[in-house]
């Protein structure tokens, strides 16, 4: 999905100097700087180390750029999943390169889908998503990635009050 890690911009001497300063700054100054850089009050739980790291991270983001859009979305999604199930296993998205083949046996018959850069090829036609193909094969609505085994295990329905 994403290519090689985003290339670093050349080091900005002003930023590097500020990072050096942060390393030894007293907490009062760190709190002040936090308000300036992050435009909010520092959280109560933050000690000098977390303040220092937050500030350093933010100013570097400003100077060099942060996570790319898709990665940021992925991370947010994972954080949400973890918040919902603190002890559950994280469902990592599987990466498939174009040219790979998805093989699925369904009711005794085998179906093959080839991954293309622009979608998924199945029986001579290219589809934008796997769910479309899965639903075509199964005759009912299916989650494509799950149908083709790209999710390790179907999520168990939470049993309430059992």
């Amino acid at each position: 999905m994403t290519q090689a890690p985003s290339s670093m911009k050349p080091a900005d001497p002003a930023v590097e100097a500020e990072l050096d300063r942060l390393a030894t700054a007293p907490i009062v100054e760190l709190r002040k700087r936090y308000r300036e850089v992050l435009r909010t009050d520092p959280p109560k739980a933050f000690g000098p180390d977390l303040l220092r790291r937050s500030i350093a991270h933010r100013i570097q983001e400003k100077a060099y750029g942060g996570l790319s859009g898709p990665t940021k979305r992925l991370l947010d999604q994972l954080v949400k999943a973890m918040a919902a199930k603190p002890n559950g296993r994280l469902e990592l998205p599987r990466r498939i390169k174009p040219g790979s083949e998805l093989v699925r046996t369904w009711k005794g018959k085998t179906y093959r889908v080839v991954v293309r850069p622009d979608g998924f090829a199945y029986e001579g036609k290219t589809y934008a998503g796997l769910s479309e193909i899965a639903s075509l094969i199964a005759g009912s609505n299916w989650n494509g990635p799950r149908f083709f085994g790209l999710r390790s295990k179907p999520e168990k329905a939470e049993d309430h009050g059992k």
Partner: protein, 511 residues
């Protein structure tokens, strides 16, 4: 009666003694009883009484029931008509239970046998004699109940005082002078088991772990040259073991626990934690086996001889029945046969259909009755089910083999274009968790890192340490999330004091 040559009456002498005490003497109580009986028989010689040579001796048997070898032998001989009179020293030698006595009298009456207690003169042929006998026996029974009550009360009182009153010695202890004494080596084993359970939180994993460490149940030598125990732990004994408050230094009686005289092996904190975990793991959806509708209960085995027990799972209100190899139920997957779990309806229907065909069973016979009537035992392998049939099946050899295939689940696989590295779950997990924690702190969900650490049951130091993963350079995070990181990178490689500058982070981590 006035005949000159009286008919000989064959007299059986029955003797009994409750305890072993004194039996080792050359002339013991049994001999004394027998001698008294013999002299009485001699005194009745004019009436034709003659003692049988057989000994009916029950040394160290209680009079509370009829489970006594010599008495049973006597009753058998009475049935066979070998005895005319039963002679005992006192009535209570025969039995101390009124109900049992009624049974004996019935057996005697049926063969018109009289019986005599040499030191208690009465005649069971008269109503007065019977009354006397019943009164005497009531007292005998009363005496017996009284003494057992006395013992019960004594045991209860000793337990309340914390004394150990015998029984099987638990792992970790030895019995010395009727007291529990810690066996240091075994006590360490006990601690390991408790500790590992807290760490692993699962019986399955615990069993595997104990097997790896070679930890087995306590080996107990018995009086006879034999031993019990010394076998791998299974779930039942493990649960019993982990709940045993003996290890807290307590003794129990009637469901209550009292401070004991022996030393504890496990500290209360660990013990409480274990109880908490055990309570959390209790399966609340227990269904009685008989209600399960499983037709092959007790009949199905896998091809390594493990019984396969019924089990089920539910989804969207539907119940899916299975048979599961007992090896799996005991946490030993590797000991299971080639088919360790099978759909119940699948295997049952296969058997029913095949049996209907092979044995030409009438359509009127219900499906549910077929297995019950014709299958004695079924052994499941990946290719066939071998059936031992009951005689009702009326086939020459009682063996049948029915082809069978494990139904393959619909499979899905990916044929990769070329080797594709997948993200490292541990690294991703660490980063995501750090972000989740950071967000909680930023949202003021927790006022201190300590509060956060308590909520996730981790050490604050660890939480502070792991929070730093949220501040990894975006390039590193991105690589980890997509699986592009240098292959040598692992959590352990990420330094505890991560540099602030991204450029330095990248350099230390090899980007």
């Amino acid at each position: 009666m006035a005949s000159n040559a009286p008919k000989t009456l064959r007299c059986a002498i029955y003797t009994r003694k409750s305890t072993e005490h004194g039996l080792e003497l050359e002339f013991n109580s049994l001999d004394a009883q027998r001698e008294a009986c013999e002299s009485y028989i001699k005194s009745q010689a004019s009436l034709g009484w003659k003692a049988l040579p057989q000994l009916y001796d029950d040394p160290a048997f209680s009079g509370g029931n009829l489970e006594r070898p010599a008495l049973q032998r006597l009753l058998k001989d009475i049935d066979a008509g070998k005895v005319d009179v039963v002679v005992v020293y006192k009535i209570d030698r025969l039995t101390r239970s009124l109900a049992d006595f009624a049974k004996l009298v019935e057996a005697f009456d049926a063969r018109s046998i009289s019986f005599v207690a040499v030191t208690q003169q009465f005649n069971t042929t008269t109503s007065m004699g019977r009354l006397t006998l019943n009164v005497l026996l009531s007292f005998a029974q009363f005496e017996r109940e009284l003494s057992s009550e006395r013992v019960r009360d004594k045991v209860a009182a000793s337990r309340r005082k914390g004394k150990w009153t015998g029984g099987t010695v638990p792992l970790g202890y030895e019995a010395r002078d009727k007291k529990l004494v810690i066996n240091p080596a075994e006590a360490e084993t006990v601690r390991i088991i408790f500790r590992r359970y807290v760490e692993l939180q699962s019986f399955g994993r615990l069993v595997t772990d104990l097997d790896k460490r070679g930890i087995v149940t306590k080996r107990r030598n018995t009086k006879v040259k034999k031993f019990n125990g010394g076998i791998p732990f299974t779930y039942g004994p493990l649960a019993h073991f982990l709940k045993n408050r003996i290890y807290l230094g307590e003794t129990g009686h009637g469901g209550k626990w009292y401070p004991g005289e022996h030393k504890p092996i496990v500290d209360r904190k660990t013990f409480d934690k274990v109880q908490e975990l055990l309570a959390a793991g209790v399966n609340k959806r227990r269904v009685k086996r008989s209600d399960s509708g499983a037709l092959l209960i007790g009949k199905l085995f896998d091809d390594r001889g493990n019984a396969m027990s019924p089990s089920f799972s539910s989804k969207n209100g539907a119940r899916y029945r299975f048979y599961v190899s007992s090896a799996i139920l005991r946490g030993r997957k590797t000991a299971a046969g080639s088919v360790a779990r099978v759909s119940a309806t699948d295997i049952e229907q296969t058997l029913i259909n095949a049996l209907r065909q092979r044995l030409k069973i009438d359509q009127a016979v219900l499906d549910a009755d077929i297995i019950g009537a014709y299958v004695a035992r079924a052994e499941l392998s990946s290719r066939a089910v071998k059936i031992n049939t009951t005689p009702a099946a009326k086939i020459r050899s009682n063996k049948l083999s029915i082809p069978w295939q494990v139904r393959k689940p619909s499979s899905a696989s990916v044929v990769e274009a070329n080797d594709e590295r997948q993200p490292d779950a541990k690294l991703v997990q660490a980063i995501v968790r750090a972000h989740a924690w950071l967000r909680d702190l930023q949202n003021m969900k927790f006022d201190t890192a300590e509060a956060l650490a308590a909520s996730v049951k981790l050490h604050p130091k660890l939480v502070r340490q792991e929070l730093r993963y949220a501040f990894l350079a975006p390039a590193i995070k991105e690589a980890i999330l997509t699986g592009d990181q240098p292959s040598a990178l692992s959590l352990a490689r990420i330094p505890k004091n991560l540099p602030l500058a991204w450029s330095k982070q990248c350099r230390t981590l090899g980007f």
